[in-house]
């Protein structure tokens, strides 16, 4: 397991090591899994009940598949910790938050003030995602 630098949850972090998606299905008691960019997040949907931590790895910040993986899990009702790990940078934090990530373990530590600014800058959003924020169209029309 990797330490989160930023965490937006009140529960205790899970101590279990995250295992690969391939191994996860067979290991019937595992509660933590790590998704690589090429994995299909939907393979995890039958096991959401026992999952407490999903790490989504970003080997390079330019590979955006992890954003879809995160949303798919949240849309399916996954409520456990969703952690972005790897090449996670300040300027991607906000989009990741919107896709459902609630903890961040960047391989290079982020400047706390820059991270705070990035996460609080946007008062409103144009899209509805599973993060629960009301989209601008929702505010316009109630």
């Amino acid at each position: 397991m990797v330490e989160s630098q930023l965490r937006f949850r009140n529960d205790e972090p899970v101590g279990d090591p995250a295992i690969t998606v391939d191994n996860f299905g067979e290991q019937t008691n595992a509660a933590a899994v790590r998704i690589e960019p090429g994995d299909d997040a939907r393979d995890l949907l039958p096991y959401l009940d026992r999952l407490k931590l999903v790490e989504v790895n970003f080997p390079a910040f330019t590979d955006g598949r992890g954003y879809s993986a995160a949303r798919i899990l949240r849309e399916a009702g996954y409520a456990g910790e969703l952690r972005a790990v790897g090449d996670v940078l300040v300027d991607q934090l906000f989009a990741m938050r919107r896709c459902g990530f609630d903890s961040f373990a960047p391989q290079a530590p982020l400047d706390p003030a820059d991270a705070e600014a990035a996460l609080t800058r946007w008062a409103d959003v144009y899209q509805a995602t599973a993060d629960g924020r009301a989209a601008i169209w929702k505010k316009r029309h109630g």
Partner: protein, 550 residues
Amino acid sequence: MYKYDSYDQAMVDTRVAEFRDQTRRRIAGHLTEDQFKPLRLMNGLYLQLHAYMLRVAIPYGTLNSAQMRVLGDIADKYDRGYGHFTTRQNIQYNWIKLDEAPDILADLASVEMHAIQTSGNCIRNISSDQYAGAAADEIVDPRPYAELLRQWSSFHPEFVTLPRKFKIAVIASDTDRAAMRLHDIGIQIVRNMAGELGCAFYVGGGMGRTPMIAPLIRDFVPLDQLITYSEACLRVYNRYGRRDNKYKARIKILVHEIGKEEYSRQVEAEFAHLLTQGIEPPIAELERIVPFFADPAYDLTAPDAIDRSDPLFALWYDRNCHAHKQPGYSIVTISLKPVGGIPGDAPADQIRLMADLARDFSFDELRVTHAQNIVLPHVRKADLYDVWQQLDAAGLGTANLDGIGDIIACPGLDYCSLANARSIPLAQKISERFAAPEKQAAIGELKLKISGCINACGHHHAGHIGILGVDKKGVENYQLSLGGCEGADTSLGKITGPGFDEDGIVDAVEKSTEVYLSQRKDGERFLDTYRRIGMEPFKEAIYAKEPVNG
């Protein structure tokens, strides 16, 4: 025209503040160039051969006179006094300093403009029919749908790092003036049997090194599912588009490799799921947007007659004015292709003059066309002579719309770091070769398009005559292709054979036009003749050995 509310304004203002902060962190060294690059690209800032280039979004190509005037002022204040209108209905400035870029974005935000997502691997500025709202043949104005998509696609959190850039066009007439099927997604607003409006989705078109015409993926998506369906198309692409090879990363390759049936099956599955997620704006949001694009208050008594007594005016009228849906009005295209000029370039004074003309004669509206010209969409026919005289006095009266002088050319080796060859000087040479108005008139409609490399920003695949710059052992060389076409009968050009040097390609173009002139039947355009007689006669003429003794 659409007007921002306080939400829209706050979004662009926030973006300016964000980019100012990112630029500060880059200059302070907190961001590496690799980290900063996608951020600046998503604000339209490219690093070119000699300086930064800033590309400003002109959503669906529509703008008002105040916005146009600011574009002129930016050219004076931050650039070398001119701007360059592009094939994506945007404007670019080629000589920008990084530390001034946030100030330019702030100037733009003051008139409800921005440079958001004009480059980078994200959903780009939405393009549309340049005659939207004025054309006689459209079923509705496509721009409200484009605006809905603009808001949805701006800062979309899931699609900030797609495999590659993503371009969407929206049209609403059978005549396709936006090269819709050469986009990643082309949407045509249609009516079904019940008379309801909906969207036909074409997915997987594009130019570049593997040009493809987008296949129809779904013939009718109801209007109140437009965003959800688009999101499904994008999600399948974001998850399965190739990321191992940048030349195979566009959605056209995915659709081609798995087949359109399999792609649309995956989209349908994702769509069915997303319909349960409540991501679609209510139809009330579309209803809020539509009235912004209502018809202007036309003069219903405007006379329909044209005084053709000035032959130069009559020539310009015949070439550059298009039928308007409202009797007594015309759609005017201002050619940015004077003989010997740089296609799409306009100095600040011309930009401001066009703004004034829009204010005084066209209900404050202008359009940018993907052929790099400017449109005044609603001009009273009675005002046309006045408008033409003012344009002509400013060097904007060139009468060559859709003719051989109306060349599309990408920036090429004069600016672009990816280029193999120069496009601009070649365009200038060709337009000079065909400068004589009689020569242009005889040739008629002939769309000539030049790209400086295989990325095809000059849309050469879709040119009746297309020219592609290639690198031949370190020397600039040009390939000629014939028979490309955008629109309802979209086709891709075929290469004639071995390439040419700069003078050789100008000769080859001229020979192609000679073949056409000698072979055409009544009423045929260059393209029609080519389609009838095929490549051979052209090849023979172009590659014929000069007789040694006359």
